[in-house]
């Protein structure tokens, strides 16, 4: 590949140290993201998707330990930054929005104070310049009545408006990458549709590179061109979103898609995934899905399956697709 990747995650492994033991949240994950890509990371709770997002945005909690691997941003390893350099990347080059937009804002400050603080801190703008830019940002996320919103405190805004404001704050530093962690999970469906629509247009207008983290495959289909499916800390398969939804390769993905009730037709029993997530303190040696997979063979529990290339643009960690190694 001639051009350099914007983001390259290689063999990343992250553990959490807790009183209950060491939780192996992310295990040996590799990913690449190009400029202008939109990648969706899909997984259920305990899949490690949020930990991966926090690692890329340099916001891991204190009890998280990066055991191995690297996160190269424009060729620079974010995990090897000096403390003094972190501020140049976190929130600046790579921004993040969360499920609950209220966590982005301190309840004691107005939206205007937040936005102007960020702008003055990162760009050394004067108060007036910052205010002007803040109004522009609020317009960009299509919030009406910007003057009122600048003076509003977070609790005075509805969930949808606050999430828009959080997007404005995240984009205020002109980041190259926006990481959105379940940005619509707490919102009503019609508001969710608005926010997804907004994210889609901003992606086009600003040529933003987007990493969307969600449990909802439908959202992946609405927003992202590529999708990575995670389970129990590992990445099971990756490829164009449409291919993954229409023709899932990994047995887990196939089951997950079948478990979602479809709105366009009536149906009999939903197929569900029997069993439970493996204990992340002591995950299985082989494929993490082995205990719940109908197609599992003894080979599956022996060692973690390698990635196999399928059709050039897809890869899957399942021995069913053995033959063409990556």
């Amino acid at each position: 590949m001639s051009e350099e990747k914007l983001l390259k995650v290689s063999e990343l492994t992250i553990h959490y140290h807790t009183v209950e033991g060491i939780i192996k949240a992310v295990r040996n994950i590799s990913l690449e993201v190009n400029v202008g890509d939109s990648l969706c990371i899909v997984g259920e709770s305990g899949s490690g998707k949020s930990t991966l997002g926090l690692a890329i945005s340099l916001s891991l909690p204190k009890n998280a330990v990066v055991v191995s691997g690297s996160i190269l941003y424009k060729g620079r390893d974010l995990l090897k930054l000096k403390t003094s350099e972190v501020g140049r990347y976190r929130g600046k080059e790579i921004s993040m929005i969360f499920q609950d937009p209220a966590t982005t804002f301190n309840p004691l400050f107005t939206i205007g104070e937040h936005l102007t603080d960020i702008l003055r801190h990162h760009f050394g703008m004067s108060r007036e310049e910052a205010l002007e830019r803040a109004v522009e940002l609020l317009k960009m996320v299509r919030l009406p009545d910007q003057a009122r919103i600048l003076h509003a405190y977070p609790h005075e805004l509805s969930g949808g408006m606050l999430q828009r404001a959080a997007i404005a704050a995240a984009l205020s530093t002109n980041p190259k990458i926006l990481i959105a962690d379940e940005p619509t999970t707490m919102l009503d469906v019609t508001t969710q549709a608005q926010i997804l629509d907004l994210i889609n247009s901003l992606k086009r207008e600003l040529n933003l590179t987007l990493i969307l983290i969600t449990h909802n495959l439908g959202i992946a289909g609405e927003v992202c061109s590529r999708t990575a499916v995670m389970y129990a800390g590992t990445l099971l398969e990756e490829g164009p979103t449409e291919d993954i939804i229409l023709n899932p390769l990994h047995p887990y993905t196939a089951k997950l898609i079948k478990a979602v009730p479809i709105i366009t037709k009536t149906q009999g029993r939903l197929s569900h995934i029997p069993g439970v997530l493996p204990d992340l303190r002591n995950p299985p040696k082989g494929c993490p899905f082995v205990d719940r997979c109908e197609l599992a063979t003894p080979e599956c529990s022996a060692s973690q399956p390698e990635y196999f290339r399928v059709g050039g643009v897809r890869r899957v960690a399942c021995i069913l697709y053995g033959g063409e190694h990556e």
């Binding site: 807790t18 009183v19 439970v276």
Partner: protein, 290 residues
């Protein structure tokens, strides 16, 4: 049971918490057995004296020295542990016994009775607690039970306030609604579902408060309105040696040291309890699946 092991593990790993646990355990054990291990019970209870030995400095025979009546201070401080234990636990228990029902009824039943109860609570809260305790102790007169009563009456409103706030939020949780839907009686909902889930911050506070109660009781004794002499209560011992501090430092020093160490122990343990009751730890606990 596994929770208890986890708690002990957390305490064991933190030397500060461990120190708290050791001090408090020692205090409780000594408090319980003190009357039976005295080498000079007469001195300890203040029934005997030996003028010839008055104000002898610490020595092998008298580890903490003797007081102005020649009584062995080590024995007196040792027995004082029991009084402090009775006072600390007594004050907190009595305060809880008044504060919890008041807060629970005000928070769960509410209505006019609830409002009235909280008004009374607020009235008490308007006075600085130590000042109120001094006023009450002066009115009741000296004595162990009067001291406990005076301190408890100045303290219960803090617990009733704390319980009230907890109950007011817990009563709106879905499991209370679920209990109502099932048709469980209000009394059972209150005692089985609301109260146990409202106690956490009170337990933390009560642990810290045993230390403070000991300190305040000593203050009352020091002021001459607490336990009467010749009871070997620590505050009283400090006060009796105060005039002599320049000639016989040990008379005030050892009981004072006992107070400081004990209060410190309860504070450290209180910190540990606070961490053990932290909802984040609960979350970690809840990550254990069947």
């Amino acid at each position: 049971m596994s929770e208890l092991i986890l708690y002990l593990n957390i305490i064991r790993r933190n030397p500060i918490y461990l120190a708290g646990l050791v001090i408090v355990s020692l205090f409780v054990v000594v408090g319980l057995i003190a009357p039976y291990i005295l080498t000079r019970p007469g001195d300890a209870w203040g029934l005997t004296y030996d003028i010839n030995k008055r104000l002898s400095p610490p020595s092998l025979e008298h580890l903490f020295g003797t007081d102005e009546y020649g009584r062995d201070l080590f024995n007196r401080v040792l027995l004082g542990t029991r009084f402090s234990l009775v006072i600390g636990v007594g004050v907190v228990a009595l305060s809880l016994a008044i504060g919890i029902p008041v807060g629970l009824i005000a928070g769960y039943v509410g209505g006019k009775a609830g409002t009235a109860l909280m008004r009374v609570t607020d009235m008490f809260l308007a006075f600085p607690p130590l000042l109120l305790a001094i006023a009450l102790a002066a009115t009741f007169g000296r004595g162990l039970s009067n001291t406990i009563l005076a301190l408890s009456l100045s303290w219960w409103p803090w617990y009733s306030r704390l319980i009230y706030l907890q109950v007011s939020s817990v009563r709106n949780l879905p499991y209370v609604d679920a209990a109502k839907v099932i048709g469980i009686s209000e009394a059972r909902i209150m005692f089985r579902h609301v109260l146990p889930n409202s106690l956490t911050p009170v337990i933390t506070q009560a642990t810290l408060d045993i230390g403070s109660a000991i300190l305040e009781a000593s203050a009352l004794s020091f002021l001459g309105i607490g336990v009467p002499p010749p009871t070997p209560e620590w505050g009283l011992l400090v006060s009796s040696g105060w005039r002599l501090i320049s000639v016989a430092w040990w008379v005030s020093f050892f009981p004072g040291l006992a107070i400081v160490i004990t209060v410190l122990g309860f504070n450290l343990l209180g910190d540990a309890v606070k961490e053990l009751m932290d909802p984040r730890l609960r979350n970690l606990l809840s990550m254990r699946r069947v």
